[in-house]
Amino acid sequence: MWDHEIKAMASTHAIITASVFMATVIPAVFVPGFSVYGTHLLWVYAVSGTVTCVSVAIFWLLGISPPTKKHTLGYKLSRLSRSCLYFFLSCLFFYTVVVLYGAPLIESALETFSLSVLLTSLTTLRCLCVLGPNVQTWIRVFSRHGAMSVWDTCLQITVACTLIGAWVGAFPIPLDWDRPWQVSSSHRKPTYSDWNQWTFELLFSFHHLQPV
């Protein structure tokens, strides 16, 4: 059982990582002039879109999400709408946090918002998929010693690592190397490092989980 879960999780993460990779490579083939730095907005859309689709699909197929008590269509719909609402709220939340970190409020709002969508698709969406739109469960999982299953631990680690990765991504901003990704007009976090950090931390999370 334990082994089975680990295996499922490993393959899930492998698929998601692969999808991020594909989301970077495939547009490069089809869209002329595509590059991670040059058309960073497009890239961010591609990645967050793919990650959203792939993780929803995988978690639905695997059936990780907690069994619902009622099977009526109305209940399912309300769950879906609540999930969408949470998704949107989490985007707003990340947007606010990034603005509080110094990004301009209105100027380059599009970039900031796409960053928050990316962060949401990497963190909140997975919580929604695994735990369902249930705030009490979320609080339990994210409080200390709250993880009860492999999936909970995995969630804790990936969410924490994604956020730390985004946080670390802000370090090179003050450096005056004048690179294109050090977006000069704002103090926005460069998005590139979320992705790097995230994939890196995924491997790290496996490493952590094997002895469990």
Binding site: V97, Y101, S143, W167, P174
Partner: protein, 964 residues
């Protein structure tokens, strides 16, 4: 010897300040100076070299110019004249540059690009040391040999109009002068009209030889609105008109047969993209230098101007006027200026310049004979002698001409080599003093760190083995060793060294202190070693496990210290602090959420473990109170975050993004005066409401009146509007109003001190004491609100608001210990240092604060006021820390000792690390522009923290007397 940790920490800090002072003395090079204190005289000039025959005349060649007009425009940047928009900005000048008989150059100013050092550089030809910036506040008469003195002695009549720095530097040198003050930065028209109004009259007269004009308006515009503002063009057109007026008048006066005139247009320094100056960025150091005279060849078209040093103007002007070059000048003559005179004269000019440079070289470099430039000069001088011999024999062939040209080239090379050798001399460090200072600081830091377990223990006392180490053999051996090292270094070093020049008593005290410290260090370390596993075992026991917040606090402190190694992180240090502060608030928010939501969900038993005191009052009774408190506590971190975000856009600082428009500029523009008035009135009211809570009645009254006084002071200075005074008054200095506020500040401080003393001596009343402390704090707040610019009042307001909320709902309720609270206070203090518009650049220090309430410049109060207003953020937070920790006494009686120790550690770790960094990076490209100002800021902060820690001691002292 058992010492309380607050006394221990303050002692360490005070000695660290001494160590840093020694380091600073060694780090900032003393300017190159001639050994003789006298001035160059005409009679000392060397004879014209000639092999064989008797020495020729020692006289100077004929002066080239009869009259010189120097038009100095403050902050005139090179591209204002030579750039693409030069045609629009200064059409007449540009025409002269392109077509007229003129020479144009880009003169590179040396940092610090501040007016007074630049004036000194232009007149003495030397490069003033960095320390001159600090002296910029106060400019006493220039005693060094300089051009103005030389001209005055030679009987030239000098007239000066412009910045009164000149008048202070050269008292009694000018036949006629009118100084304008650069005090009111907001005025950019009157200040120039005061110069130009004399011009017509003066130009008509014939009784002067040198006219110096120093225009300040452009610099003021730069400070107000930057180099791209719409005010720049009209101002430059005005300057262009002035130049045109002078030029046409000079042309009309020109008579046949007499010597020609010379008109010099130059800038003292440039202007950065933000409009400030002081650093060493390209736009700040590039100034135009245009020399206009009929003696020059008329030019065909615009060429790219050559690059010269700013100090090169000094010897050029001196020789052009037939004056000796001032002794300490490191400049070399600009050969283009003399190209029309005879070859003999040209060689003579270069010879004079070379001779002066070689004399300076002899005085400042011990092994000057080995210097390449000096040797070249000797060779050139010999060749010059040969040439003169042939020339005087009447030889006038082509060969002689070519030979002369060769000598000229040799001279120029020699001059360049000597000048660069002298400039390099400026970059020499007194390594011995630096290392000695560094060793002191590090010994102290290590003792501080090793004492951590004891200092943060429950008794908050450190056991220093002073006596045992003083009577140990290693102490005496070390003393002997260090003393012999000192003697060895000082006798072998050929260059001057500050530490060696100290008196023997002082040096011996330092040596003994250092060896004692070393012994203490060793014994502390040995004491720790066997203990270490025990402590470690305890740590893993779970009692001391680090929470996320602790990890963040530690990582942030260490990360910040490491980040100082990169010049960009030093320039943009505010980003680091804002970033850390935001993260801190989010972490605190998470802590708050965890506490309240867990409680709600029945994890209460864990909470009760932490809050034994809370059971005393029944929870059902305070249900509604508790829930409102919960929401307030939950709202505090987001509110703090929003405050910080708003404050961050109030003042853009740093280098890269400093030019972005910010709210501060918007408020200060004259269109939004009403908004600024309303905002500052609102802030003052809020400050009153926040501060008065814990004051006595008398202080409340005094505070209210004082804050009213602050508003009327701002109205008098002209920053804000008085609602009931419609008539447009002339702006005054507001001295009366400011003094009115000072009276109340002193009154509040006095009542506070009285309360403290009474609580200490007569009654052991904790309430009286905390009120006294708070009154001292509110006195400080009142003083700061007077000193802050009107647009910075929201910073003060938010500071008080955050302090109040955090103390009430976060620090008390979440039971953070003294160390955590201290680190948070320190971080907030740092962030507020940058919120108020400071940066790690000297240029952002607001010097005008030194004049608040004073009629004229008085050194001591000006320095105190300036440092107080610059470090207002860290100081206010440190004072709040004292108030908070002493009010928390019932909970933890040693909180003050812990806080003091933490503060000392927090301050000395970056300071010590920074000293090492600066030593390692001393040949870095940005050492003078980025790292040295930061070093000054760090040392000043260290000094202030030492003062705050002494204040801590007095607080703890009274506490212990109360216990006994």
């Amino acid at each position: 010897m058992k010492v309380r940790s607050s006394i221990f920490a303050s002692f360490i800090l005070v000695f660290e300040v001494l160590g840093v002072a020694l380091f600073l003395r060694g780090f900032f090079p003393v300017p190159v100076k001639s050994a003789l204190p006298s001035k160059s005289r005409l009679s000392d000039l060397p004879a014209e070299p000639q092999t064989g025959g008797s020495p020729n005349s020692t006289r100077l060649p004929q002066p080239l110019f009869s009259r010189v007009v120097v038009m100095l425009v403050d902050a005139l940047r090179e591209d204002f004249v030579f750039g693409a928009s030069g045609h629009l900005y200064m059409p007449y000048t540009r025409h002269l540059v392109d077509r007229g008989s003129s020479h144009s150059f880009v003169a590179k100013a040396r940092p610090p690009t501040v007016t007074m050092p630049r004036i000194k550089a232009l007149t003495t030809g030397s490069i003033p040391g960095f320390i001159d910036v600090v002296m910029n506040l106060n400019s006493p008469a220039l005693l060094e040999d300089n051009l103005i003195w030389q001209a005055n002695t030679a009987g030239k009549r000098i007239i000066f109009y412009g910045d009164d720095t000149w008048v202070r530097l050269f008292p009694k040198h000018f036949m006629e002068y009118d100084g304008t003050t650069s005090f009111f930065v907001s005025d950019y028209t009157e200040v120039d009209n005061n110069v130009t109004r004399h011009l017509d009259r003066t130009l008509k007269r014939d009784d002067w030889d040198v006219l110096i004009l120093h225009y300040l308006g452009l610099d003021h515009i730069g400070h107000i609105s930057g180099p791209h503002s719409s005010l720049i063009q009209p101002k430059l057109l005005e300057m262009d008109d002035v130049l045109k007026k002078i030029h046409s008048s000079l042309v009309s006066k020109e008579a046949e047969g007499s010597l020609p005139y010379l008109l010099v247009l130059c800038g003292d320094h440039g202007m950065s993209e933000t409009g400030s100056h002081g650093g060493s960025s390209e736009p700040e150091i590039s100034t135009p230098l245009v020399l206009i005279s009929p003696a020059f060849r008329r030019k065909g078209g615009m060429k790219k101007p050559e690059v010269v040093e700013q100090v090169d103007l000094t010897p050029t002007l001196a020789l052009g006027l037939g004056l000796p070059i001032s002794q300490n000048s490191v400049g070399r003559v600009i050969p283009g200026v003399f190209e029309e005179s005879s070859l003999r004269d040209q060689l003579r000019f270069l010879h004079l310049n070379g001779h002066q440079l070689s004399c300076l070289l002899k005085d400042s470099i011990p092994d000057y004979e080995k210097d390449a430039g000096f040797e070249q000069f000797r060779v050139a001088e010999k060749a010059h002698g040969n040439w003169m011999k042939l020339y005087l024999e009447g030889n006038a062939s082509e060969v002689l001409m070519n030979m002369g040209k060769k000598v000229l080239k040799q001279y120029l090379e020699a001059l360049a080599a000597m000048s660069s050798a002298l400039s390099k001399q400026l970059g020499k460090y007194d390594m011995y003093s630096m290392i000695a200072g560094m060793v002191f600081v590090f010994q102290l830091l290590l003792v501080l760190v090793l004492a951590m377990p004891e200092a943060l223990s429950g008794s908050a006392a450190v056991d220093l083995p002073v006596l045992s180490s003083l009577f140990s053999l290693p102490f005496y051996l070390l003393c002997l060793l260090l003393a012999s090292v000192h003697v060895l270094v000082c006798t072998s070093a050929e260059s001057s060294c500050y530490f060696c020049s100290l008196s023997w008593g002082l040096v011996f005290a330092a040596v003994a202190f250092s060896s004692a410290m070393f012994c203490i260090l060793i014994s502390l370390a040995t004491r720790r070693l066997p203990l270490a596993p025990k402590i470690h075992g305890k740590n893993t026991g779970g009692d001391w496990s680090l929470s996320e917040l602790d990890v963040l606090l530690l990582a942030g402190t260490i990360g910040h210290t490491l980040s100082l190694a990169a010049s960009s992180f030093v320039e943009e240090e505010h980003q680091t602090w804002y970033f850390l502060l935001n993260t801190l608030c989010l972490a605190v928010f998470q802590d708050v959420c965890r506490k309240y939501f867990r409680e709600q969900r029945g994890f209460g038993e864990e909470e009760e473990l932490f809050l034994p005191s809370k059971d005393s009052h029944p929870s059902s009774h305070h249900k509604s109170e508790v829930s409102s408190e919960k929401w307030l506590a939950l709202a505090t971190p987001p509110f703090t975050l929003v405050c910080c975000r708003l404050l961050r856009s109030l003042n853009q600082t740093g280098v890269q993004w400093a030019h972005l428009p910010d709210v501060g500029h918007w408020l200060n523009s004259s269109d939004h005066k009403t908004v600024l008035s309303l905002l500052s009135a609102f802030c003052l009211v809020l400050i009153y409401l926040l501060v008065q809570r814990r004051c006595s009645l008398v202080s409340k009254f005094a505070l209210a009146l004082g804050l009213l006084g602050v508003y009327s002071y701002r109205a008098a200075v002209g920053n804000v509007l008085f609602p009931w005074q419609q008539s447009t008054r002339t702006t005054s200095k507001g001295t009366v109003e400011a003094r009115f506020v000072y009276v109340f500040v002193l009154g509040i401080l006095f009542t506070g001190t009285k309360g403290l003393l009474r609580s200490q001596i007569l009654t052991a009343d904790a309430k009286l004491k905390s009120r006294g402390l708070w009154e001292i704090y509110s006195g400080l707040v009142l003083l700061v609100s007077l000193l802050f610019r009107a647009h910075n009042l929201p910073v003060l307001c938010c500071c008080l608001l955050i302090q109040t909320l955090m103390a009430q709902f976060i620090w008390k309720k979440l039971h953070y210990d003294a160390a955590q609270t201290t680190i948070m206070h320190y971080w907030f203090g740092q962030a507020f240092f940058y919120f108020q518009g400071n940066s790690n650049n000297i240029a952002t220090v607001d010097i005008s604060v030194g004049f608040v309430g004073l009629e004229s410049y008085i050194e001591a109060p000006a320095i105190v006021l300036t440092s107080l207003s610059t470090y207002a953020g860290p100081l206010l937070w440190a004072c709040h820390l004292v108030c908070y920790l002493s009010s928390e006494r019932e909970r933890s009686p040693v909180a003050i000792g812990h806080g003091c120790y933490c503060l000392a550690l927090l301050r000395s770790v970056p300071a010590a690390a920074y000293i090492v960094l600066v030593t390692v990076l001393r040949y870095h490209l940005f050492i003078w522009s980025v790292f040295s100002p930061k070093l000054l800021y760090e040392s000043m902060h260290l000094l202030l923290t030492a003062g705050v820690c002494l204040f801590f001691i007095t607080m703890e002292q009274s506490h212990s007397t109360k216990l006994t």
